[in-house]
């Protein structure tokens, strides 16, 4: 089996260098990309949904189960020590990746959705009351709308929505005017999964912090595509999903500043999150373990750390530069197809291309492209309010990752011409 890994093959490059990626080596790292679908090479452009996994991640998860599997934080035996070391080592890796101050600021969760729910259930429940306000944006994923909506309904609070401009950017003036004495928290997406907009989260935080309002940033679409520095952003919370950053499904990260995490009540309760239990009284462990009741997804955390090592070895700056170039090429190629309308023209934009094709419903585009071997997403992308804002029921969406190539864009373009031809 091919075990070439880009981090070994790639010539050494200085940190932050924009040296182009060795795509041949990178593509060799992802066994899935060798798949044939419907008799042709798979072109995977659904990376905003989930990313494929490099061999190093697959091997790391396997090695955990082969050589290290035991429960964490409990056993005195050798194997449990190894498992705990691997799990807590993964926490350190994530902390470094996001530039958290300490590993104690990293809580392992199932994914970004659970991270939002955790903050809603702990910080939200204890701080949001009657007539208070929660601020989100018009480009949020349902996972960053619905939990807040439920909280507001239960607490008698109001959900305020930052509008977007026609280019698909946050209206920062409107945002500033939404912040008030009753605002208890702001929750915004870092990179839109539909529009690709990279929101100025640092500015969002600055405006909120002037009033002492904490900010949650949904980084699901950002973490594998650009360097993330939670201290530079200044946010109180940041969340991302392992499976969108070449790691396993079922593992994700909630970053929270130590001050915030330590002041929050527990989330789920049970084993592993306590300090001592009697039938009269239980005292809780400190963060992050207070928020990790039960046996965690140890193999997932270890696999995520392997994914981060993989990303770090290539360099997020180089990955971002590659995806930026590819987005430019994809935008030009798709825009050239008659009848195409693109959504999201933000000045700062990540590798997401949403569009509709006149006379061809996005679902039909999805089916036709699939038969041409090109995997994209079609639908509302869990962003129905944003679809309403755009005035369409659905879009087709191609989303890029580090292993995509110009050849992939050519295939996308050709398949779109086929779709057009079928309905012409």
């Amino acid at each position: 089996m091919m075990r070439n890994v880009a981090m070994i093959d790639a010539p050494p490059v200085a940190a932050g260098s924009a040296a182009p990626l060795d795509l041949t080596a990178i593509r060799r790292d992802f066994p899935m990309l060798r798949q044939q679908v419907h008799g042709t090479r798979l072109v995977y452009l659904d990376n905003a949904s989930t990313t494929q996994k490099p061999q190093t991640v697959i091997d790391r998860v396997a090695r955990f189960y082969l050589e290290e599997n035991a429960n964490v934080h409990r056993g005195v035996h050798w194997l449990s020590e190894r498992a705990t070391e691997a799990y807590e080592g993964a926490r350190t890796t994530v902390a470094r990746f996001l530039n958290a101050r300490t590993p104690q600021e990293i809580v392992f969760v199932r994914g970004t959705t659970e991270a939002v729910n955790l903050v809603v259930a702990t910080y939200g429940r204890s701080h949001v009351g009657r007539d208070d306000e929660v601020v989100i944006s018009a480009m949020e994923h349902h996972s960053n709308i619905v939990p807040w909506q439920i909280l507001c309904e239960q607490a008698g609070a109001r959900l305020k929505v930052i509008p977007t401009t026609d280019a698909g950017e946050l209206d920062l003036d409107a945002y500033a005017s939404l912040l008030g004495d009753r605002t208890r928290i702001v929750s915004v997406v870092h990179v839109s999964n539909v529009l690709g907009t990279v929101n100025p989260v640092g500015e969002v935080v600055r405006l909120a912090h002037r009033r002492g309002i904490p900010v949650f940033v949904d980084g699901a679409q950002a973490a594998a595509h650009m360097p993330i520095d939670v201290q530079a952003i200044g946010c109180d919370f940041y969340a991302c999903s392992g499976h969108k950053m070449f790691g396993p499904t079922g593992i994700g990260v909630l970053y929270g500043t130590s001050d915030r995490l330590e002041s929050m009540p527990p989330y789920q309760s049970g084993g592993d999150m306590i300090r001592s239990v009697t039938f009269e009284r239980t005292s809780y462990a400190s963060a992050p373990h207070r928020f990790e009741a039960g046996t965690p997804h140890i193999a997932g955390a270890v696999g995520l750390a392997a994914a981060i090592d993989y990303l770090d070895a290539i360099g997020l700056e180089r990955i971002a530069a590659h995806e930026h170039d590819l987005l430019g090429a994809a935008t030009d190629a798709v825009a050239r197809i008659p009848g195409v309308r693109l959504f999201g023209t933000a000045a700062d934009k990540a590798g997401v291309l949403s569009f509709v094709l006149e006379g061809v419903h996005p679902h039909d585009i999805g089916t036709i492209l699939d038969r041409e071997g090109v995997a994209i997403r079609a639908g509302h992308h869990c962003c129905q309010p944003l679809m309403d804002r755009l005035g369409v029921p659905a879009t087709a969406r191609a989303s890029l990752a580090l292993y995509n190539t110009r050849a992939d864009i050519d295939r996308l373009s050709a398949a779109l011409q086929t779709a057009r031809g079928l309905f012409a």
Partner: protein, 148 residues
């Protein structure tokens, strides 16, 4: 292009998608909405029933080519039929889009154009959306029917 795609997007389907028949709301009668939450397809089917027969039928809304063409073909096929016959046709079409690739479809006339859907299991819900709404309308249910 693959033959599967040609089988799915036959001329009949493309034509009914481009120019849906009976694409209108009815002033009288009953209606029900069909909604596929996965893709956002949303169709409203109107039926006017007299003495157990469908005197008139129409639909409106937005959907993919399969959902739209299936709705259009449906209106042509159930107009004038009894509710019981329309129900039986629902069952027959549902069978057609889900059964084995080589199952015969000769008895279905233009509706047999939908047989290509059986190669695309994820599109069955699209093909059946209007049919579910029609059934709900005929049963005088005002609820939104979803494909879930």
């Amino acid at each position: 292009m693959t033959s599967d795609l040609q089988a799915l997007y036959r001329d009949v389907i493309v034509d009914h998608n481009r120019q849906p028949r009976n694409f209108r709301r009815l002033a009288a009668g009953r209606k029900a909405e069909g909604f596929n939450p996965l893709c956002g397809d949303r169709l409203t089917v109107y039926v006017q029933i007299e003495n157990g027969a469908i005197r008139d039928v129409g639909f409106q809304g937005l959907g993919c080519a399969i959902a739209t063409a299936s709705a259009s073909l449906m209106t042509e096929h159930i107009k004038g039929k009894t509710v019981a016959d329309a129900d039986a046709l629902f069952e027959r079409v549902q069978r057609m889009v889900t059964e084995a690739l080589d199952a015969p479809v000769d008895d279905l006339g233009a509706l047999s154009a939908l047989a290509g859907v059986r190669r695309f299991p994820v599109r069955v819900k699209c093909a059946m959306l209007a049919w579910h709404a029609m059934r709900a309308a005929a049963a005088a249910s005002d609820e939104v029917v979803t494909t879930e």
